[in-house]
Symmetry: C2
Subunit: 199 residues, 2 copies
Amino acid sequence: MKLTIFSPISLISISLSYYLLLLQCTVDGRSLSPSKPDPKDAAAYARWLVSHNSWGVLNTIFKDLGGAPFGNVVSFSDGLPGKGKGIPYFYLTPLDPTAKNALKDHRSSFTLSEVPLGTCGKVDPENPTCAKITLTGKHSKEAEFGRNALFSKHPEMKDWPQGHKFEVFKLDIADIFLINWFGGPKPLTIDQYLHWKNE
Amino acid sequence: MKLTIFSPISLISISLSYYLLLLQCTVDGRSLSPSKPDPKDAAAYARWLVSHNSWGVLNTIFKDLGGAPFGNVVSFSDGLPGKGKGIPYFYLTPLDPTAKNALKDHRSSFTLSEVPLGTCGKVDPENPTCAKITLTGKHSKEAEFGRNALFSKHPEMKDWPQGHKFEVFKLDIADIFLINWFGGPKPLTIDQYLHWKNE
């Protein structure tokens, strides 16, 4: 984009357009946090990626489809705004295969991309500098702990039909696959991930 | 967004901002096709969703992780621009677990959301009016047929390191899970999906 071709009126336009773009690309006013962490800091990067995304693909084993790995787009939250803990919570209805699958077989993973955050620039979504993370573990029903985390990030959830019997689910993480630069997956333990603190 | 509060200058701003938003949200100049199909037309909607997206989550069975379903963010293409056929092709390196998994166990699925297309408005990513699709089937190495489809949509792929031994993979679709409105998954056969034609 060449700014030099724009007149002063257009400069106002550009300011406005960035504002609108930001509105378009945020969920409930959450900032995109354009100042992403240093890719060398795997724990900080992984936690940033999880806390700032609002949706991803939750994967379960679908017995009725020959035991296929079945991905499903879901919203999630890892905590109240600015207080994410890295553990993803979901709000699922048993009308949806993912919740039913998880109750039969807890094996699961949850996959996120940096693309929705708008911070990958012009590189391809599969370019390793555009980060991606897969948290693998056990996915099961959770008490009400995750409800506030979910409703604060996804306000419309509280009005979803009661008849659909939505319940809070949680992923207990056993493995982390993070790519955020060249050179293959970043070594990152569950302990480093869960106990990372933003100093 | 209330247009009534904007002055004539701001109307120019709005036009420009939509243009910039469109630039931001396209891959290699492909249009977002804001005129999405009628949700009642399941085949048209599914094909539109697959043709206009540029990345998604590809799922395989990860034997080394206890047979967990393992999602991985990948780029894909279903054909040359404007000539998508609905079958997703991928360009994967055996350095990545997904390609290795697929060679051991072909069971796979590929999941896409409408969110990246920017056409969901203000609804939550899990709201059923914001469409999602999961194509389940067998995922395996493919001859060179998919290469042009991939390189036309993801030009940087042709320069990815030869030493990484990238190869074209393909998903043979056996089941389609589409949600694009209230009322649960849309009935849609493989035949209806693959033989849909834009009249």
